[in-house]
Symmetry: C2
Subunit: 413 residues, 2 copies
């Protein structure tokens, strides 16, 4: 009943070498790595050099290999490899979130054309089986929201910030511990979280949204004064990837958020990831696990490989439903902090709740219209830390009701 | 590709009526409840009386019905119903943990004989998809442990106890909120948690253990002094169902445990359930969700129904592996408290670490040999609160090493 898998592994970095160890140590899966392709013939690796080939064609043109596991860093090269592998009739497992977020639609067409399967559990939240659960387990519930801490690097830095360690030191620690890349831009500016959000939008609500359409606010501008504000209010700052339904609209974005101790993600610290799924019937579900690192990600890749022994495919049942519509027409309650008060004045607040100013720092809180804010010149968002406040999303209609009620109470006052 | 499901629903209590609502509100699943069988014709129900039948045969003998959803309280009656349904060639979904824990082996034989599927996700940890994940996602990793808060009633009572509310009041509150049954024995004495542990042992380690073989220590004897001890040390008391590997041995039991803030279950409060799975590669994974109640359990039942549309069966792959052996030959570090110091003296401690006595309370901490303790006359365990301490399991070999090291350090002292 189960299929014999002969694997071509492309890439032997952190996850690739982890997978190699895991596959050799795990007794329960009968799959063989036939070839391993790497780019640099001169790099020192943990296993002898004779295990490696240096041309993709060794894998792509080998008819015996029926599964390509793609684990390289370069998402453009990965795109070419995955396309070629699918066209060669091979199943593909990848953990490349950028690749999937940017090219899923085209790749799915190809998998249909060539009758193969493309799995990528390792691309979102490392070891947490979130895609499989969205596909299989929550395929019948009406999901109302999904949110998560899906980037271990930023969660580590924010955890340390909450403990009073400054950003630069925390980033350096994260790099030394192997949680952060030498160039941390993709992580700290929220791009990595955004690619994962795009994938979650597809599996939660059936929506294919170009990552370019999704706003990502990172943590790079957060200042000690913002952290102080959080501590005073009993909040912690977490970088959340969020999508939720407001009526038939689905809204989604990546931004740092103040959360209080009642929030499921409050205790999710350091390099841990978490995903919170809310369904009409299942209520809130929280998944926590390690989001990065060699073995946790490799375990997700291995689980995909194992599923392919039984010809598993994502069914994308949420996409068939099709009544969800992506929207940016909603209001968000935010805190905006800066050393330069004049920068705050340029933010198109719909209404301002609080204004604070001291010698070296200023902040304002209030409601912004999301789309309007998103269209703001990105240069104007520099030197500005934007952090979402709790109880923070209202539709246009809901906000109007709040405003009307406030006006009426003024009239009667 | 998907199967048309015609459902016979047996039982219309909390979960049954929840399922009815959920199935009618959820658009994504195409399954029809043809008949609903209940026992009492005179009971008032949320939908009109003409929807009900009063004989099981209405479901069991209807050839059009291909799925029996069994949601009655009485596990002996459920046993007969499930056997008959399987023998009639119908798939079965149940949420009855006692039924599954006590009769799984026989029922599995029957499902093989008649070529049907038996699913029971709702039987363990309500809305948390733990069985599906153990079956599908963790089918290839080497799991080293599973532990969980799988009973909402006791977790609610313990949460209130940790907040200083006495046991009787907490129990009454739980009953008023609908978390605890009128007769709470099965919950507070740990039987419910034990049935769930037996099911988890099967899906995690492939072991079929008669629940009678499993020790369950409940929370009924916990006194305010024990809670005070916990608070002083920064612990919380949680009722855990635990199973873990020590070498090739698997140990398992249900007992209250002191856990500190580094434990994944520390923040799992009130009626929430949690399951922590630890794998060789995936590391620790935490699942949190509502463990009881009409809709959360119904959502698990619904997910099973949905899976049956695609002829899903549990594969029990862990059972094929077969190198795990259930053992009670290990040492456990415990706290034993009582109003009567002489009761503590009857506990067969292997070694005692601490002895405390005041006018109205006494406790001792130390290591016990699990099997020896289990064989203790249950009457002697009355008036005794036994609570597992952190860092608490050692094999015979490990304990001997600790003892030898201690003796050597004495010699050199």
């Amino acid at each position: 009943m189960s299929k014999k898998l002969t694997i071509g592994l492309i890439g032997f970095g952190c996850v690739g070498s982890g997978l190699y160890e895991v596959l050799n140590q795990s007794k329960l899966i009968d799959a063989r790595i036939k070839s391993i392709v790497v780019k640099d013939p001169n790099k020192k690796r943990s296993i002898p050099q004779e295990n490696f080939s240096f041309s993709r064609d060794v894998v792509l043109k080998d008819p015996e290999i029926n599964l390509v596991v793609e684990l390289i860093d370069d998402s453009e090269a990965a795109y070419e490899i995955v396309k070629s592998a699918i066209a060669a009739g091979k199943d593909v497992v990848t953990a490349n979130k950028k690749l999937i977020a940017e090219h899923l639609s085209e790749l799915l067409e190809l998998t249909k054309k060539y009758g193969v399967s493309l799995l990528y559990e390792g691309a979102v939240a490392g070891s947490i089986p979130i895609l499989r659960n969205l596909e299989e387990y929550y395929n019948n519930d009406s999901l109302s929201s999904i949110q998560g801490i899906v980037n271990g690097t930023t969660n580590y830095i924010l955890t340390k910030s909450n403990e009073g360690i400054d950003y630069a030191t925390a980033l350096k620690d994260a790099q030394e511990l192997g949680f952060a890349e030498a160039n941390p831009t993709l992580d700290v500016q929220g791009y990595d979280s955004k690619f994962k959000l795009a994938i979650l939008l597809k599996h939660t609500f059936g929506l294919e949204i170009d990552p370019k359409e999704l706003l990502n606010i990172g943590i790079q501008n957060i200042r000690p004064q913002d952290v102080k504000f959080a501590l005073e209010k009993g909040y912690r700052i977490k970088l959340l990837s969020r999508a939720e339904k407001i009526g038939n609209d689905v809204v989604g974005f990546v931004a740092p958020q103040f959360i209080d101790s009642t929030h499921f993600a409050y205790e999710v610290n350091n390099e841990f990831n978490a995903v919170i799924v809310e369904g009409l019937f299942s209520d809130k579900q929280l998944f926590i696990g390690k989001g990065a690192g060699s073995h946790p990600t490799a375990s997700a890749v291995l689980s995909d490989i194992s599923a392919l022994k039984f010809d598993y495919k994502y069914e994308y049942r949420k996409s068939e439903d099709g009544d969800a519509r992506f929207s940016q027409d909603f209001y968000l309650k935010v805190y905006a902090g800066s050393r330069y008060p004049e920068i705050l004045d340029e933010i198109p607040f719909f209404s301002v709740d609080e204004v604070y100013q001291s010698k070296d720092y200023a902040y304002q809180t209030g409601w912004i219209h999301f789309e309007e804010f998103q269209q703001l010149d990105p240069n104007r968002r520099e030197n500005l830390s934007l952090i979402v406040l709790p109880d923070n999303i209202l539709s246009r209609k809901e906000l109007e009701a709040v405003v009307t009620a406030a006006e009426e109470s003024l009239e009667y006052a």
